[in-house]
Assembly symmetry: C2
Homo-oligomer: 415 residues x 2
């Protein structure tokens, strides 16, 4: 193991100072100084807490939004303040929840308008779910030469969401025969209007108002947003204000948008939203970090799939020659981040480490080389062709390799 | 159900305004105004996010600390900024993690000092666990005439904690034969020194540095704290700086403190820390809230046990005459808050609603009357005797009843 086995002199030198303080503390613990603890509340009492001034992890601002600092996260919950934002440059609308309404109309028996208070009276559900921008690991990572895991994979986050099942609201309104789609519209500038197949809406869609125990953050759609488990981030309409039930999709710009494009059945009666394929990434050690020396490290990271639960994560620490199972941290939930861990002794030589996951649908990640070959992309024209291809198919779920140099510095080994 | 079934005139009146805005939005969604979305990042970009200005739920300051606003929470995760604080009036120490060290010494083969960087190199674990002050639902609730669930039950919170198993650190140090206890000491003013049986320390104790994905908040022990799953809050030493391995407990003031008092085996070779008994509480509707009228409501709340997982929650809406099972929200985790839900139609009459839970050890909650009878407390001298009793036995896990008046106002019906 790696911690200091202190020699006697070292211990005496370093330990004595701490032990000295500690001895004082023991005296106080035995009762002598206990009365000096003030009974009055502290002057700077913070009834809504803040971080230590020594903690300063923040989102990374790029051209399309703000990325989650995955390298700093622990467990599976993303703090709401660090949830990725894909706002394309506009501020979230400043919505007064007392004034906000959700309208459900179109092919329904009873058009309805709900206040927030009314929505919260419905039966509710909480689920730990990831949200991921389809551009994650794609365009930005390629074009901007991403070097850190925040830049390559930071457009995914995982929260405990709470809301009312959309199916309950639709049943309340009474969906008419012949309806197969709805359009969900947000209240932001240049409102997003997203077509959603009725089948998905009636299955597991949520009109969410809670995120990690609190109301949604403004950037995630306060006071309500659509939540379509497993689907690409863009289709989850934020600042939701209107749902129109239709016999066909609207096919507006958002329905055709790269990455989030819907698939319509040949007869128009239904279709599919794009789901995120299985992905995993090692968050430690990852690009931009530095190992202080050879010895023991715990490799850790996240895996997730829009099609179900993660069943397996394998790790290679020899450039892909051999793979061993990582340990998956409970709880392992469908369409949620899953934390994996793998013990590793680094021998100090240059190595490439990487993870690959398999979901409970049996789908696994492949290397970029394998994916390229499968899609007939020439290695030479690689980068630009790949770009188009990945956008068309949402498929950039390639294995992410990190190179550890002899000096311990970690860099992106994808290209 | 309860939402508005809008008549045609009402819909035209209210709906038209929203539909009008919406129609404009559809025009923009079809492409005409899309270019007006600015490409530049917004001026007030918040790389560490904040709440909406319309969200203002905070902790409640009482004589002993700050209580979590359970009535406002959704799901099972308590936002770190709203985690209860039981600081007895002093500010958390302002610790620089680069300077902080953990010393392990006493009956060990190799006394060790760990920096934060070294601790984080060890294999780690994340667990969703509650922490609860043993005084929760006890002294304060009784003496101060608590009326809201924040006041009666707000000294419990649930987080995803991450840290290194203490067993790994102790194995690294090499615990010597004849050792049965350790003392864990914090770095705060008047340091808390808490005796912990070695058996618990080697079982599931964590030296935690992560809370809900981030480093611990200062009030919860930044940069490291002890985490003893299921045990009373007070024994989980915050701002941990020293662990001394011993053959017997120190029996300082903290080991004897009401509510947190340790139990020592007759031969001194081991013992038990107090564990929290099963508890549940309805958070909606709860004291201080007001139902706008008869009709459908979802009763919801939290259940937890320091001895294991919650197996069952039952709800009575008729003053305890009949009980029906509530639905438990997944994931149901040991020693974690579990969210329950129960559909309810309020007929507009005065009623008393309450929940009782059973954990997977088979232990259930009882009413205050049942508990009093079992312990031979006279109803007359009730309050003061009960106080002593509850403190001595940590047993105030009585069923919490709420009274709903004909006007819909909800009040504490415990006494």
């Amino acid at each position: 193991m790696h911690s200091k086995h202190l020699g006697r002199r070292r211990f005496l030198k370093e330990g004595a100072a701490i032990a000295g303080v500690a001895a004082g503390a023991i005296r106080s613990a035995s009762g002598q100084s206990q009365t000096t603890i003030p009974e009055a509340p502290p002057k700077d009492t913070r009834l809504y807490g803040q971080r230590s001034r020594f903690v300063n992890s923040v989102r990374h601002l790029d051209r399309t939004g703000q990325d989650t600092p995955l390298q700093d996260l622990m467990g599976i919950i993303t703090p709401s303040a660090l949830h990725f934002v894909q706002s394309r440059g506009y501020d979230p609308p400043d919505i007064d929840p007392r004034q906000h309404r959700l309208l459900i109309h179109g092919m329904v028996d009873r058009p309805l308008i709900f206040s927030m208070e009314e929505l919260k009276r419905f039966p509710s559900v909480s689920r730990i779910l990831f949200l991921e921008c389809p551009g994650n690991t794609g365009k930005t990572a390629l074009e901007d030469g991403a070097s850190t895991v925040q830049q390559t994979h930071g457009k995914t986050s995982c929260s405990e969401w709470t809301g009312v099942p959309l199916s309950l609201l639709l049943r309340e309104a009474g969906v008419q025969k012949g309806a197969y789609w709805l359009v969900a519209e947000g209240a932001e500038k240049g409102s997003r209007a997203q077509s959603v197949p009725l089948e998905k809406a009636m299955d597991d869609a949520l009109v969410a108002y809670g995120q990690n125990g609190e109301p949604l953050r403004p950037e995630q759609g306060f006071p309500i947003r659509m939540l379509l488990p497993g689907c690409t981030g863009g289709v989850n309409t934020k600042w939701l204000r209107r749902i129109k039930v239709l016999d066909q999709p609207e096919m507006g710009i958002w329905d055709l948008q790269q990455g989030n494009a819907i698939r319509v059945a040949p007869d128009g009666k239904g279709g599919k939203l794009p789901a995120m394929p299985p992905k995993s990434v090692i968050t430690f050690p990852s690009g931009g970090q530095r190992l202080p020396g050879r010895g023991f490290y715990e490799i850790t990271g996240l895996a997730w799939s829009g099609r179900g639960a993660i069943r397996r994560v394998e790790i290679s620490t020899d450039g892909g020659q051999t793979w061993k199972d990582a340990q998956l941290q409970n709880p392992i939930l469908p369409m949620a981040h899953t934390r994996f861990r793998f013990p590793w002794n680094w021998n100090g030589e240059e190595v490439v480490i990487q993870s690959r996951c398999t979901d409970d649908q049996g789908e696994s990640q492949q290397s970029l080389a394998e994916l390229s070959q499968r899609r007939g992309i020439q290695p030479g024209s690689f980068q630009s062709d790949w770009l188009k291809d990945s956008y068309a198919r949402l498929g950039l779920n390639a294995i992410q390799p990190w190179r550890v140099s002899r000096e311990g510095s970690v860099s992106n080994a994808m290209f």
